[in-house]
């Protein structure tokens, strides 16, 4: 369970988030939408424990929360396989077991032939797939996604988004996801929240993932986004 009550975040005198109330139960998948600079990434970083809140209460009882960044953030001096295996070793797996799991996950994201490649040798899409494999290999019960597929081409974005959705649904993991692409977001989450001026506003959705109402939902989310960008 992730619970934020009257949470606030300030950078010096500047208020980034104010009076945030958000509750994420196990298995629940929530999308965060909003204009740039609204505080979405800060909210995710608070949830990941990378930032201390300035006020309010934050309770995170998830066993294994993992944040997947917008950039791959791979260790450039370790092979793709090591980049996936190291967090597993940090989580307590023996080296051989960690390598086996990493091997399996890299194969699942289509990188069978790039196990021993240095990150500098990988394309942007391949590096982001390594990053996704690294996040999912840990079997997180809470996955925090900060626009992880935004730099990828549409086909790959769709493929990785589907892989992510399948895995999260199979494990019944909770998900908190930022995306500027309503279609991508609606393929991953059960409900959406608008982040604007440091505050949260729920956006009601018409139907569950995969339902026909989601097409109308996508149009509505796009309109909401355009509206927020038009506002000062």
């Amino acid at each position: 369970m992730l619970e934020m009550q009257a949470l606030s975040l300030r950078y010096g005198d500047q208020a980034v988030l104010e009076d945030i109330d958000l509750r994420l139960a196990p298995g629940e998948r929530v999308g965060l939408l909003g204009p740039s600079g609204a505080g979405k990434s800060s909210l995710l970083r608070l949830a990941a424990g990378l930032l201390p809140p300035s006020g309010g209460q934050l309770r995170n009882t998830f066993r294994c929360p993992v944040l997947m960044f917008q950039e791959p953030r791979l260790l450039p001096w370790r092979h793709a396989l090591d980049n996936v295996a190291l967090p597993l070793r940090a989580a307590g797996h023996a080296a051989a077991r960690a390598e086996a799991i990493a091997h399996d996950w890299l194969a699942r994201v289509g990188l069978d032939r790039a196990m021993r490649a240095w990150p500098g040798e990988l394309s942007g899409g391949m590096a982001q797939r390594v990053s996704l494999a690294r996040a999912l290999a840990l079997a997180p019960d809470l996955l925090l996604l900060d626009e992880p597929f935004s730099a990828l081409d549409p086909a790959l974005r769709l493929q990785l988004s589907a892989c992510c959705h399948k895995e999260m649904a199979a494990r019944k993991s909770a998900l908190l996801c930022i995306s500027h692409d309503p279609h991508e977001l609606l393929g991953l989450v059960d409900r959406c929240v608008l982040v604007q001026h440091g505050r949260l506003t729920p956006i009601p959705l018409g139907g569950p993932i995969g339902s026909p109402q989601r097409t109308a939902d996508a149009d509505r989310l796009r309109a909401v986004l355009l509206d927020t960008r038009a506002q000062p």
């Binding site: 990378l50 960044f69 001096w77 370790r78 190291l86 070793r89 940090a90 240095w118 040798e121």
Partner: protein, 259 residues
């Protein structure tokens, strides 16, 4: 307009060999001018190496100096590195250590030698103490500088993936710091050899420096220069056979194979 050439960053071996020959020539001319009592020629020094190496005292002196260099450089590098990593994490500790770092770097080594002779007397503890004290600041400065330049995004990533202190040191900080650390280690090792020899010349009853001082006092110029050649050989071996291959090995990831 200059045309780019392959391997521009690498030192040309041919020119390096020409540089060595030029140095030997200058040495030979200088020795001819000064006479055999003041300076041996390169050939005389080379010929003196054989009898020197086969003498009983050679291995005792050389072994002792090598031990002092090894312990002194290792202790200095370890202390400098450990304090550098800690100070890289804490601005308070960095502020606390800064005056001592400045003091040690500004202090002429000969002053430390004289003081250490008073405190420890003649022998290994004095030499090792001086080497450690003089080597640590260089390693410390390079480590702190490297720590401050470690990619913050990667540091954050290791927090998200809950890397422990050992994994973070082994897989993030050490590889990220490998270039400045190896440069510092190179300087420390070469400097360490010179410092140990100087400390032994000034205040030891054994070791290469003592043998050098002994050869000087008996006007055995050929032996004195034979020792110099051996010291140069040791520094070259440490640099070319140990540190440079290590540097190449640790930098493999920067040269993608495009396989």
């Amino acid at each position: 307009m200059n045309t780019p050439r392959a391997g521009k960053g690498r030192t040309s071996r041919g020119w390096a060999a020409a540089g060595v020959l030029l140095l030997l020539l200058a040495w030979h001319v200088a020795a001819r001018q000064l006479g055999p009592l003041l300076m041996a020629t390169p050939w005389e020094a080379l010929c003196a190496i054989g009898p020197l190496v086969s003498s009983d005292r050679f291995f005792a002196h050389a072994g002792l100096s090598l031990m002092r260099i090894g312990v002194g450089v290792l202790a200095g590098a370890s202390i400098g590195f450990t304090l550098g990593v800690l100070a890289g994490h804490s601005t308070r500790l960095r502020g606390l250590i800064e005056p001592l770092r400045w003091l040690l770097m500004a202090l002429p080594p000969v002053v430390v030698v004289v003081l250490a002779m008073l405190w420890f007397g003649l022998g290994s503890p004095m030499v090792v103490f001086i080497t450690t004290l003089m080597m640590a600041p260089g390693m410390y400065v390079n480590t702190v500088k490297g720590m401050l330049h470690v990619d913050r995004q990667l540091v954050e990533m290791t927090h998200v993936y809950r890397y422990g202190a050992w994994l973070r040191l082994r897989h993030l900080y050490l590889p990220a710091l490998s270039a400045p650390l190896l440069a510092a280690l190179l300087i420390a090792t070469c400097g360490g050899v010179r410092l140990v020899v100087m400390a032994e010349v000034l205040g030891a009853e054994n070791g290469v420096g003592y043998a050098l001082a002994n050869a000087r006092s008996t006007f055995d110029t050929a032996e004195l220069f034979a020792w110099v050649l051996l010291i140069l050989g040791l520094v070259a071996m440490l640099e070319f056979a140990l540190l440079q291959p290590l540097q190449r090995r640790l930098g493999r990831w920067m040269e993608p194979s495009h396989a």
